[in-house]
Structure formats: C-alpha cells, structure tokens
C-alpha cells in the first residue's frame, strides 16, 4: 500500500509537469498548426534562466521568477517572429524539421554557457516529508501537484474568460473568420508562443526543483508526444488527463515492473492510440485519412 501511495504521488507530480509542458505544445498546435519539437528545450531554457537569476545572481524568489518570465517571453516572441513566421505555408516536414533544428540550437547554446554538470540551487519548495495513508511522501511532490493544478486552472480561466483567451480560441477555430472580426492573427501567434514558453518555464522551475537543473530536462520534451496524442492534439483538458495518465503509467511500470520499460511504455501507448483513435480522447475528429 505504501509503495502504491508513493508511486501515485510521484506519478501525479510527474504527470502535472508533463501536463504543463504539453499545454504549451497544444497551445502552439491549436493556434498555429505547428508541431513544436523544441518544447523540452523551452523547459530547459526556463529552468536555466531561473537558475541564473536565483542560484547564481542570488535574487530573491519573486524577482527571479520575473526574470524567468521575461526570458520566456523574449524566447517565445523571437522564435515566432524570426523562425516560424517565415515558415508559414510550408509543408509539415519542413515545419517539424525547423523546430528540431531549433531544439538542437537551444540545447547546445545552454550547454555552451552552463556545461553538462547538474546545477544545484537552493530548494524553493519545502523538502520534508509527510505521512499519507501509511506512506511517507515528500512534501515538494505534493506541492508540485497543487501548483500545477493552480496554473492549469488559471490557464483555463484565461481561455474561457479573458479577451485574449477568447481571441485565441477564435483563431484556433477559423483564422479567416477571426481576421474579419478584427483579431490580429499574427499577434495571437506570438501570444501562443509566449504562453507556451511561460508554461514551460513554470514546468522547468518545478522540475528543476524536485530533480536537478541539468540537460536531462530537455528529455521531457519528447514525452510530450504520448501525452498530446493520448489527450488529443488540440485539446487543453486533454493535456491534463493525458499528462496525469502518462505520468502515473510511467511510475507504476517503473515501480512494479521494470524501470527500463517505463521509458518506452508511453510510446507503446502512443502507437496503440494512433491505431485505434488517432485524434485522442478529447481531440477534434478532423484527422486527415487516406
């Protein structure tokens, strides 16, 4: 029982961070129809930006987060303006490849400046542990779940209530109709990239705090694909369900069966989903078939 509760908490924490990473991915896909292979690198850049401000420069927590947000916004705007905008209208392979190139560029630039050694920074979340249903679980994992839940609900409120959120949904639904209503589609594209970078920043800070700030953070990026395929490529609630499912699945397989198998099980799920229901659990059934 105690193993079960432990795996449950670890799985939910992993899943919550995966959901944050996947949220950015889905935002970009929904608004701009771009598959972003650099999502993991957004996490990486966010975590290192925060580490620089918090761990290296010794800024207090709130200003350090603000620095991270500024870096994320700059990253999102620059990537959209310089790289993705010239690619509008290109075939999918080119767009996939340009984001792969971007991911290699970002990862190597981070490596050039910070090296490959894991960085330690003062922990943000309390590190103690509490007993829960007979198991000892670390407090920071529980808090990660709570924080991710708050952030994800804030994003949902933003989409449903705010002016910009509604504009984003309009663009995702029909670009031309949105344009005729006076919505600036290019501004929305930039906004999607910025929000993706910011949600990745939050994911990166949390992940860096419960593990370590190092190059492995980028590996989280590939795990986004099983999540979004399971949840549906264009569904925001899907990222939460998908993220939590994949996070739990990984932890349970790793705990009860085999840690090696845990790295590949999400991809097996991915293939099964693609064969049975390619649009995922909540995605729009608009997939092109032949």
């Amino acid at each position: 029982m105690s193993t079960f509760v432990n795996l449950l908490v670890y799985g939910l924490a992993d899943g919550a961070i995966l959901a944050l990473a996947a949220l950015g991915f889905v935002l970009i896909y929904k608004a701009t129809a771009v598959i972003n292979f650099a999502q993991g690198e957004f996490l990486l850049v966010g975590a290192y930006a925060f580490y620089t401000a918090f761990g290296l420069l010794g800024l207090p927590f709130i200003p350090a987060v603000l620095v991270g947000v500024l870096v994320a916004i700059a990253l999102g705007v620059l990537v959209e303006r310089l790289i993705l905008r010239p690619m509008i209208g290109e075939q999918p392979i080119s767009i996939i490849m340009v984001t792969i190139g971007l991911s290699m560029l970002l990862r190597s630039v981070v490596q050039m400046f910070y090296g490959v050694q894991p960085k330690s920074q003062p922990s943000i979340l309390p590190t103690g542990s509490v007993s829960l249903l007979g198991a000892t679980v670390p407090v920071n994992r529980l808090l990660v779940i709570v924080i991710a839940a708050i952030v994800l609900s804030a994003f949902s409120v933003f989409f449903n209530k705010s002016r910009h959120g509604i504009a984003m949904r309009a663009v995702a639904d029909d670009q031309q109709a949105a344009m005729t209503m006076g919505i600036s589609v290019s501004r929305i594209f930039a906004l999607a990239w910025v929000l993706a970078a910011v949600s990745a920043l939050i994911g990166g800070i949390l992940l860096g705090d419960i593990t370590a700030v190092d190059q492995n953070l980028a590996a989280f990026g590939l795990m986004v694909f099983p999540v979004v395929i399971l949840g549906g490529l264009d569904s925001v609630p899907g990222t939460i369900v998908g993220g939590l499912t994949i996070g739990l699945l990984k932890q349970f397989v790793s705990g009860y069966l085999d840690p090696g198998l845990a790295t590949v099980i999400p991809y097996i799920v991915l293939v099964l989903i693609l064969l049975v229901r390619p649009y995922g659990l909540f995605g729009e059934t608009r997939i092109e078939r032949v």
Partner: protein, 353 residues
C-alpha cells in the same frame, strides 16, 4: 535536342527520357568520376575514413529521400532501420558464419520487411501524425536493441571480424583504401538504382502519392501498395547502409542508432533538397563534412579561442541546428536548388534570366 540559353529543348521522346541530355553534363560526370577515382591516391587515411563514412551516409540518405522526399511519408525512424540492418548483418555473419555478401543481402531483405511493417501506420496517418508514429517506432526499436540480450549475447555490443571476401582478407595497412573501393562501387550502384526507380511506373506512383494521394487513387494508383513499396524500397537502402556500417566500423552498439541519427539523416535530405537523388548526395556530403570542418577549424584556432575547443560538441550541434534552420528559411529546396540556380546563371549569362 538543343541546349540554348533559353533552356534545354528536347525534340524526341527518347532524348527527353535520357538521364543526361547535354555534352556539359557528360563533362561534369567525367570530372566527378575522375575525382572519385583519384581520391584514394590523394587523400590520407584520416580523410579516407571520412570519405568512407560519407559514402555510407549517401546510401542511407538516398534511401530516406525515397520515402520522405519522393513519397512524402515523414520518417523519424531512420536510426532504428539502420540498426536493424547493422544487427542482422552482424549476427548472420558472426554467429551463423554466413559469408558477408550473403549476410548483407539477408540484412537488406530483413530491413525491408521490418520497414514495411512499421510503414503500416502510414496507411492511415499523414503528415505530423505519421512523424509522431515513426518517432514511437524509433524509440521502440531503440529499446529492443538495448534490452534484448540475445542480440549481443549479453555483452551489449557485437564485435564484427575484419571483412573477408571470397577468402581474401582486407589487410590492416590498406584498410581504408580497400573499403573505399567497396563502398564507392556499392554507393554508385545504389545511387544509379535510386535514380532509375523514378523513371519507372512504380517510382512515379510514389510521386503521385506525395503530390495528391486522393488524385493518385482516382487515376488508378494503388495507394496502399505504393506506400508499402516505398517503405520497403527505402528500408532496403537504409538496411544496406546499416549493414555496411556494421562491417566497416567492426562494432555494433545501440549508441550508433539513436534518435539523433534519425534527425541527422533528415537534416541531410532537407539541406540537400527533398525529392531529388542529387540533393540526398549533396546533403549527405555536406552534413557529414560540417562537423569535421568545424573540428578542423577549432583545432586551428585552439590558441586564440579556447572556448571553441572546450565546447566543441556543443558548438558542432549549435551550428548543425542553425544550418538546418537557415536552409529551411532561406532555401527550403536545399543545396540541389542552389546548384541548379548556379547552372542557370551560367547558361543565361550575360542575361539575368
């Protein structure tokens, strides 16, 4: 047939079907052939080993371009298919003492079969869904070759013995030279074969599927068969490249077949030019030479810019990513298109166009 400054005008169908139409094309072919034949006498062992790696990469890139560039099926599983070719050839040759040429043929056939199997999702999926499906097959194949102890007898790698052809064993002293001739012959055969596939009905059905699959179906192309054939043909080339890698490098480990390898090959055909055999060749040469040139430059500049030498792998990857991005933004049709533009410039000179 006449080649004038307004372009090449064919006067008969036979002249239009020829691979090379103008005398200058034959002259260029002759120059390239001469350079390839002279290379082993001019280059030292270090550069010959790079040339050998490039020749293998050319076969792999041509194979990938058949699938991605000509048939429009995006594949991130190249590393996995290379692994199938390498492992099967190494196991056939080492454990079952099959003669190497037969082992390579066996590996080619097996890779074609497995490639076709992993092409099955391609029948239902398109574009980015297919990319994600092949990403999954790459991860699954990578997992299998890492964890299946039977493949390597539990050692984690396979040692392949020195190549022996019909009782002749390649001597250590002229290892690179001998391999250069073997690889050159095989690469030329592979490139010519690939070039000719697209002058047949099968090859043209691949292109029809890429350009408009529904229209292709409407004019009587069997889309299912065309796609699966494309996966089989492409995987056969890739399997050949993998098998040659195994026998040339003489070790097979899973590290040589990761997702990064798939990405490198995709970068080759994109930088070279999607949907052209010449583009695949240009791309393979360019992307293989790029890290070598950066390393050479870094060695030269070691004294003045220590940063460059310390961070060499990161610098190489950064430039790799940058080159891919710049090519896609500035010249999405790749080196092949640049080369055509140069040719046009010369032909139309002194006019602009």
């Amino acid at each position: 047939m006449a080649a004038t400054s307004t372009g090449i005008h064919h006067r008969s169908y036979t002249s239009e079907l020829r691979l090379r139409a103008t005398p200058s094309e034959y002259v260029r072919l002759g120059l390239v052939a001469a350079a390839l034949v002279l290379a082993p006498f001019v280059l030292d062992n270090y550069w010959l080993s790079i040339a050998n790696a490039i020749l293998i990469a050319v076969i792999g890139a041509v194979g990938l371009n058949i699938l991605v560039g000509y048939t429009g099926q995006i594949s991130l599983g190249q590393g996995g298919f290379l692994a199938v070719g390498a492992y099967s050839s190494a196991i056939l040759a080492e454990r079952y003492s099959v003669p190497v040429p037969l082992a390579i043929i066996g590996a080619v056939i097996l890779t074609a079969v497995i490639g076709t199997f992993f092409g099955l999702p391609g029948l239902r999926l398109k574009g980015l869904y297919l990319a994600i499906a092949t990403l999954a097959s790459q991860q699954i194949i990578e997992f299998v070759i890492r964890r299946w102890a039977w493949l390597t007898d539990g050692k984690g790698y396979i040692n392949v013995s020195r190549l022996e052809l019909f009782g002749y064993r390649i001597p250590r002293s002229s290892f690179e030279q001998k391999w250069y001739w073997i690889l050159l012959v095989l690469t030329v055969v592979a490139v010519v074969a690939a070039r000719n596939i697209f002058r047949t009905g099968v090859g043209r059905s691949f292109m029809a599927v890429r350009d408009q699959d529904i229209a292709a179906e409407a004019i009587g192309v069997n889309v299912t068969r065309a796609k699966l054939t494309a996966f089989a043909v492409s995987s056969a080339f890739v399997g050949l490249a993998g098998a040659l890698m195994a026998h040339y490098t003489e070790t097979v480990t899973w590290e040589a077949f990761t997702l990064n390898v798939s990405i490198t090959y995709l970068a080759m055909i994109i930088v070279g030019g999607l949907g052209s055999i010449a583009g695949a060749v240009f791309g393979a040469v360019f992307m293989s030479l790029l890290p070598v040139l950066i390393r050479t430059l870094a060695d030269r500049a070691e004294g003045s810019v220590p940063f460059l030498a310390d961070q060499l792998p990161a610098v190489q990857n950064a430039i790799f990513g940058l080159v891919v991005i710049l090519f896609l933004i500035i010249e999405p049709r790749g080196l092949n298109r640049l080369w055509e533009r140069i040719k046009e410039y010369v032909r139309f000179w002194p006019f602009r166009y």
